[in-house]
Symmetry: C3
Subunit: 339 residues, 3 copies
């Protein structure tokens, strides 16, 4: 019983550290400290409470559903839950229904994690990563508009024309430093540069290489976003940086073996993530939801999906089609791979 | 020839009963009675005619395309067609082009059913269910805005802010009974509580267990929708109940073997479907289309997808990536499963 | 070195011809002539320059990433790049950032092509075709609204109600001829009937059968779009024809072996593409992006996906589910296929 309890604590801390792909309880403690600091600074504790509730419920749900034990122990069923728990109170005002939402949302995030594992990962070799959080978060924030018991505060519907910007000027050096750290803090939806610094410390404690990739991702995002003329307010809050930071880390260090070629590939992915951030912000805006880490998730999926020796389907008949294709020989390598 | 004809009638009736996962011609007759009663009550017969045309065209298309014979005979290529046939005249005003739309839409629903079978079902083990109807219906109602020959009457584009509600009061007992039955009738897009009762009778005739799950789904949906403060008008029309009813049935009885654990799992899925209903209503509103059974389809896919022994991808390199990952050992179970 | 260079030219020309599924350098030259003629006629050369940059960058990226050599040589990694290169300058005003966008977009289109090949093609047997172009184009045009350095000129956000049309009258014969050729030219986003004629010539040079399918696709699209009452201005510009043309070619000639049954199947697919065109125009309009060739891509995917002997999942328990389904026998053929 005591062992069980301490295991849950460890799983919860590791689950929190897995938001940045780490499996390290100390890193998890620092991440919680970063969340709590932001709550303290803004006097809004619902996000910290939500984080705890989210990761505990998600982890317990994984246990109840007999999910893979080693994965549960290493926190792989917890990191989507902690993000759901931080995100919902960030975008929805406090109410009894909000907490129903957080609990159900965290439990469902575990089911979705298992669903992504069985399909995307199991069949296509693509890590689900924070995709389950994005899907859960989108559905629940959008759904909140339909419910009188919930009030969306952190987002508002708008059309793309509301985005038209003048060319941005380059921020002052002190602000550049703030942006650098906020780009990291916003992975946990925290606008505080202090929180970002604590998180970065937690990453370096777990892995120097991961820390360096995080730094590189934040710098690339800043240069690209400012160079393209993104909304200076959004850039300043770190909203153009958190997805690229995750992409740099995921593509450059975690899911591919670091090498000069992989570093170049990860740099392209990181630049692309800034563009995808700009796009998804516009695309989800009419329904009044934030893009969350979807820019990272989409870009990472696309950059991790390609496999060795895979060729596009040639412009020749596909094999085994239902209609009138009886004797098509399985000639092409892609068709063969598919069979 | 006579045998062929009678087969088609049986297939059409079974196809209609398959909307609720039943394979029972008597149930199909009752479902048609429910549709006809709603037409009679509202003096709008296009939906009943559409239902017949839809299921006949979809079934004949399956025969012409040499789709799997056993599946065609059991109605598995008909139930998306009958829903297309009811839905299009519900949301689009009568015109010659509407009937072109119904015929082509029903035929295409069979192709999409075959496409979902070969991919979602064949590769990921997820039943396509009414997904093909949702996709066909969305495309055709959205497309109707572009065509002068079609006039969309049953839906209108709006932004999420149009959804903000005050907290709902609890309906009177007599209205609760109406909602209970309308939640079932709306699976066929019927707002009549009498139609809902006829449909429920049809389900009980085919399977008592399925009938009980339908009852439970309707009750859960009512409690959750009212408790969250959903729009009282929509709740009263049964619009928050039809997808949860299908989820309760699909997850609790049809696609998993009923057990205490599965019942708890299905209850979570049913609650989640109410939230997804709220979300998808908002998400599709800007393009002026109804969400149809998409809340059921999405939730069911996510709850049915998880497989035994499937672990999320560990935060380690994926195997066989195109770039710079030449000698990655296929260490992790997910990667192995993918190969 | 010299050989390498000449290979690149051939690959680039073949890649351009692959937009219409051909692998023919002469056809590629004619396609470039069609693009250049439209630039000359409108005095807007950015599209022609973009086409060259796009296909060259996409092809070189395929080489740098060690993509399948035979595919690269036959132009299969180039045709999405050439379309990105034409599309971005069509919808975004000239600026230094536009050209960053074209280069990064073309490079990313190759990564996405490899991603689609490994998943859609490798696992589901569906050709990726111009799907990578559509995804890249959507993200980059939507993203442009967020960047001060980019100005979207060719599209504007609107809601479906802006689409309501009166019934169209039938165009004059001379205009019908223009529409016929513009339907073909718009595959390259060219509104010029002369360009369309040059492209058709290029197709016939490579394959008479492909040329005939192109002609049939354009005619069917015209009849259906006018008959349904589509916006006469859009019809006149060829905007209802380019996706159906590609569908007719892909389903009727390229990906299935031509036969009477396949021709009927392709005709249904071509009609459906006109409806999907109408739908996707409406669906993407709120975010201010064009539908590009998405109507073709979606319809083709759905019509090519069905496989022989594939049955829908029966309404019985799925095999190997995580929750409470321990001893489910793998009874049904779809489940077996999935395992």
């Amino acid at each position: 019983m005591a062992e069980q309890k301490s295991n849950l604590v460890t799983e919860v801390l590791k689950g929190t550290s897995q938001v940045f792909f780490m499996e390290n309880a100390v890193t998890g403690i620092l991440f919680f400290a970063a969340i709590a600091y932001a709550s303290y600074a803004s006097d809004a504790w619902a996000t910290t409470i939500g984080a705890v509730v989210g990761v505990v419920v998600a982890t317990l749900t994984a246990r109840l559903l007999d999910c893979d034990e080693a994965s549960t122990a290493s926190g792989l069923f917890g990191f989507n839950g902690v993000l759901v728990g931080v995100a919902l109170p960030t975008f929805i005002a406090d109410s009894p229904q909000l907490w129903v939402y957080v609990v159900i949302g965290a439990a469902v995030s575990t089911v979705i994690t298992a669903a992504f594992s069985a399909t995307l990962t199991g069949r296509w070799g693509i890590p689900g990563s924070t995709g389950p959080f994005v899907l859960t978060g989108w559905l629940m924030v959008a759904g909140a508009y339909s419910f009188g018991g919930l009030h969306v505060t952190g987002s508002a519907p708008k059309l793309p024309t509301d985005y038209l910007q003048g060319l941005a000027s380059i921020p002052r050096p002190a602000e550049l430093v703030q942006i650098f750290f906020r780009n990291i803090g916003q992975v946990f939806l925290l606008g505080s540069e202090i929180s970002g610094a604590i998180i970065l410390l937690g990453i370096f404690i777990a892995s120097v290489r991961a820390g360096l990739a995080t730094v590189a991702g934040s710098l690339i995002a800043m240069v690209v976003a400012i160079g393209m003329g993104a909304d200076p307010t959004a850039v300043s809050q770190g909203l153009y940086g958190f997805s690229p930071v995750l992409t740099a880390l995921a593509v450059g260090v975690i899911f591919l073996k670091t090498s000069p070629k992989v570093i170049a590939y990860a740099a392209l992915a990181t630049v692309a993530t800034v563009f995808v951030q700009a796009a998804l912000d516009v695309m989800v805006a009419p329904v009044g939801i934030p893009s969350f880490t979807a820019p990272y998730v989409l870009t990472m999926y696309l950059f991790i999906a390609p496999k060795k020796l895979m060729a596009p389907h040639p412009h020749k008949p596909v094999a085994d089609h239902m209609v009138g294709n009886a004797h098509a020989e399985p000639a092409s390598s892609p068709s063969t791979a598919a069979s």
